[in-house]
């Protein structure tokens, strides 16, 4: 294979990510010696001599490059170092965690495939239509929300299944469902959206006319649909690694995700390095397997790029649905904003909904409605800032498609939660860190969209005409290229706002984002879990709000595909003219 710009940036980004993991102890800028001393012997005074001894012991006095070299050297020998907190080898803990997580992900993948099959079957049977809408809804529900709700309903209220631990198959059911249902929704949606267009192709008509059985046609249609979607399946599998962190935390499953999160919170950086590296490898391995499967399925058709799918037909809900969702959310938030989210009233702890507290109160007697409203304001504010940042990055990189593609590959292989863990470990948990983490991985789809539009505009004859009249590159860029690209990409970014808010909430839920007493939605859900049997409303309010947000993300997102082409009337008639701007 010839080295390409994309391949180069891909390798470079991978090296940067791995180096960032290796340099975590140095990047975090805090003195790890104190963490280690506290963890090892709580009663020892943090004197200068004691801290120096720990530093020497850990090899921290050598500086960043030596540290990186040491870590990389150990890595090659299969030595991941020693945990700062427990003093034990990291590798065995990582392997043990990985075994548990792989088991969980395997079952979750089975759940996902079964669910996807159930969602796709009606489309195949009816031969048209789509179950895509419902599937999209399932795909948008974040794992941490589903896990919490499943835990409440099946574990706590109904008492059917154990809520925590990892002893037997009964422990696996709820985590696998929480992890597998969103993934299954995503797979099901991708296939169900792509199928109707394929079933309208001429060969299907021909086969039907020739009396080929429905089973055979369905199998052929699936075989036609699946290969181009395999890379997206790979991304869904990568998403499982991120979802595993949340699900394992909720159900106290001793997997690699929970190990990573615990290590990040206790500043146990060697353990964190080991587990993040394992998660990263898992993500990259899944991506590689997906690419391999695609090559096997397609064969030579891949080289000729001749097997493109007809454009998918996502089911678009009536415009009133997203509008209603938006109005309900906005009104609740507006009402909550008028109230005080920090007023503690110990006399009214965990009060049921009433006239004074329409959504009840939490464990400190704070008004849930007020906290919901103020939480939304801060989440939406942060999400808007993240959106703007990823829009700018996406637009800038849209002009450098080679570089953007390589970087996007790596960004796609990193679920937000894992980036959040890394950023939190380096900079400490906080709203800013969470925002940076989400921004780091939310730009690739925008950059891809921008790159497609830039390519389209640059190939058009009217840009050539601009150069012919003597326009400067600056005039062409500001009057023609940017206006054609910026508006559709900005609209796309706006529609991604709810999804970005959900990613921020999931980081808040895991304690990697906003810190108490800030009223952030994910944090609200996390705080209320402890009292859920006495005050279900405190958990229900943020859960319902998050579900509404997820629904808004789905119903709004189907509107992105409008106005993809610059003009409906213009058909490419002439040859494409190479133009450099």
């Amino acid at each position: 294979m010839k080295p390409t710009a994309a391949g180069f940036t891909r390798a470079l980004c991978l090296v940067v990510v791995v180096a960032a993991v290796g340099l975590l102890p140095w990047l975090s800028g805090r003195d790890p010696a104190l963490t280690v001393l506290r963890a090892r012997s709580a009663e020892q005074e943090p004197t200068r001599e004691a801290l120096d001894a720990v530093r020497r012991d850990l090899g921290l006095d050598a500086g960043p490059l030596a540290l990186l070299g040491q870590w990389a050297g150990g890595l090659l020998r299969g030595d991941l170092g020693t945990s700062w907190v427990s003093g034990t080898e990291v590798l065995p803990s990582v392997v043990a965690g990985l075994q548990v997580s792989l088991g969980l992900m395997g079952v979750a993948l089975a759940v996902a495939v079964l669910l996807a099959a159930a969602l796709v079957a009606p489309v195949l049977v009816r031969g048209r239509g789509s179950g895509g809408g419902f599937a999209a809804m399932l795909a948008a529900v974040p794992e941490f929300l589903l896990a919490t709700v499943a835990l409440l309903v099946c574990g706590v209220w109904l008492g059917w299944l154990p809520t925590s631990g990892w002893q037997g198959p009964q422990n696996m059911v709820l985590p696998a469902l929480a992890l597998g249902v969103p993934a299954g929704g995503l797979l099901g949606r991708l296939v169900a959206d792509a199928l109707p267009a394929v079933l309208d192709e001429r060969w299907v008509e021909l086969w039907r006319g020739a009396g080929v059985s429905r089973m055979l046609i369905s199998a052929a249609a699936l075989k036609r649909v699946l290969p181009p979607l395999v890379p997206q399946f790979g991304m869904a599998a990568v998403g499982l690694t991120g979802g595993a962190v949340a699900v394992e935390t909720v159900f106290a499953v001793p997997g690699i995700g929970r190990t990573a999160l615990g290590a990040a919170k206790s500043q146990d950086l060697p353990l964190l390095q080991g587990s993040v590296l394992a998660l990263l490898l898992l993500g990259l391995a899944t991506g590689a397997v997906a690419a391999l499967v695609r090559r096997r399925l397609l064969g030579p058709a891949l080289r000729d790029a001749g097997l493109a799918l007809p454009p998918a037909r996502p089911v678009r809900t009536h415009w009133a649905v997203p509008l209603t969702l938006f109005t309900v959310l906005a009104m609740t938030i507006g009402w909550g904003l008028l109230r005080d989210p920090y007023a503690v009233n110990t006399a009214a702890r965990l009060a049921a909904p009433s006239l004074t507290h329409p959504l009840g109160t939490d464990a400190l007697g704070r008004d849930v409605l007020a906290r919901l409203g103020h939480g939304a304001a801060s989440t939406v504010g942060t999400a808007a800032a993240v959106c703007l940042l990823s829009l700018l990055v996406g637009l800038a990189l849209g002009f450098l498609p080679g570089i953007a593609a390589g970087a996007a590959d790596i960004a796609n292989a990193l679920p937000p939660v894992i980036v959040g863990i890394l950023v939190a470990a380096a900079a400490g948990p906080g709203t800013g860190g969470a925002a940076v983490a989400v921004a780091l991985i939310s730009w690739p789809p925008l950059a891809a969209h921008a790159a497609a539009l830039v390519q389209e505009v640059r190939a058009s004859a009217f840009l050539t005409a601009q150069r012919a009249i003597g326009a400067t590159p600056w005039w062409i860029l500001t009057r023609h290229v940017l206006p054609s690209v910026a508006a559709p990409v900005a609209r796309h970014a706006l529609l991604r706002l709810p999804g970005i808010a959900l990613a921020l909430a999931s980081l808040g839920f895991l304690g990697l984002g906003a810190q108490p007493p800030a009223p952030e939605w994910g944090l609200l859900l996390d705080e209320s879990r402890a009292y859920v049997e006495r005050a279900p409303w405190a958990a229900l309010a943020p859960a319902v709000a998050l579900a509404l947000l997820a629904a808004l993300a789905v119903t709004g997102a189907t509107y992105t595909r409008r106005a993809r082409r610059l003009t409906p009337a213009a058909k490419p008639v002439g040859k494409e003219t190479p133009v450099a701007v």
């Binding site: 009217f462 005409a465 601009q466 150069r467 012919a468 009249i469 003597g470 326009a471 009337a569 002439g574």
Partner: protein, 225 residues
């Protein structure tokens, strides 16, 4: 007398592939030279290289006696308006985001010849000159027919006050019923303004009717002329 355009030994390569191989021809003022040949023979590459929109790999392009291939982009900019292209795809050659009026006014603005009192009148004159009612200026390209769009494209080219038009299959994407109208317009403009035309075409009937001289291209080379 020096011709308006004199192309000598022009070469255009794409990687290892030589699209235009040592092509030479002159075009005089008020003259139409047809460049004829099957698709893929290098006609359009020649057009782009003459206009310096794709810099040729070798050879000379003398325009009004001045060698263009050695000029920098900055030095070319004041010369560019005097040689204007008209493209095959009438819709693609106009920005879908801008009104016809703005597209025709843009050369005036880019070349610093726009002022708010005379500018709009000049645009209306140009539209009228190509046979479009000035009220069409308010429309967007997708609200016009292919023939009307091509007329607007010609109006934009005229706005730069060119001496040479490079017509890259200007009528081949149009409906046969409107081809004659556009060709007659081009002939009238040539008579009135003394323009030189490099007319790229693959339709021999049109060539016979329209061109003063014709050369034939095949696989990058001139085969007759």
């Amino acid at each position: 007398m020096t011709p308006l355009l004199d192309v000598r030994e022009l070469v255009v390569r794409y990687g290892d592939f030589t699209a235009v191989d040592r092509v030479s021809f002159p075009v005089g003022a008020g003259e139409t030279l047809a460049l004829n040949g099957p698709s893929g023979c290098g006609k359009s590459s020649t057009a782009l290289a003459v206009l310096q929109l794709r810099r040729p790999d070798a050879g000379e392009v003398l325009f009004e006696g001045r060698e263009l291939t050695t000029l920098t982009e900055r030095e070319l900019r004041p010369i560019r308006p005097r040689m204007q292209p008209v493209f095959q795809d009438p819709y693609g050659s106009l920005s879908p985001r801008h009104r016809i009026r703005d597209a025709v006014a843009e050369p005036l603005k880019v070349q610093g010849r726009w002022n708010d009192t005379d500018g709009p009148t000049r645009v209306a004159e140009l539209l009228d000159r190509v046979g479009l009612d000035p009220s069409y200026g308010d429309r967007h390209p997708h609200e016009l027919s292919g023939g009307q769009c091509q007329r607007a494209g010609i109006a934009r080219a005229l706005a730069s006050e060119p001496r040479l038009l490079v017509l890259d299959e200007p009528v081949s994407a149009l409906d046969p019923s409107v081809r004659a109208g556009v060709l007659n317009l081009l002939a009238d403009l040539q008579d009135d303004l003394g323009l030189g035309y490099l007319f790229i075409c693959h339709d021999r009937a049109v060539v016979r009717h329209f061109a003063d001289r014709a050369i034939e291209m095949r696989e990058g080379r001139v085969t007759s002329g």
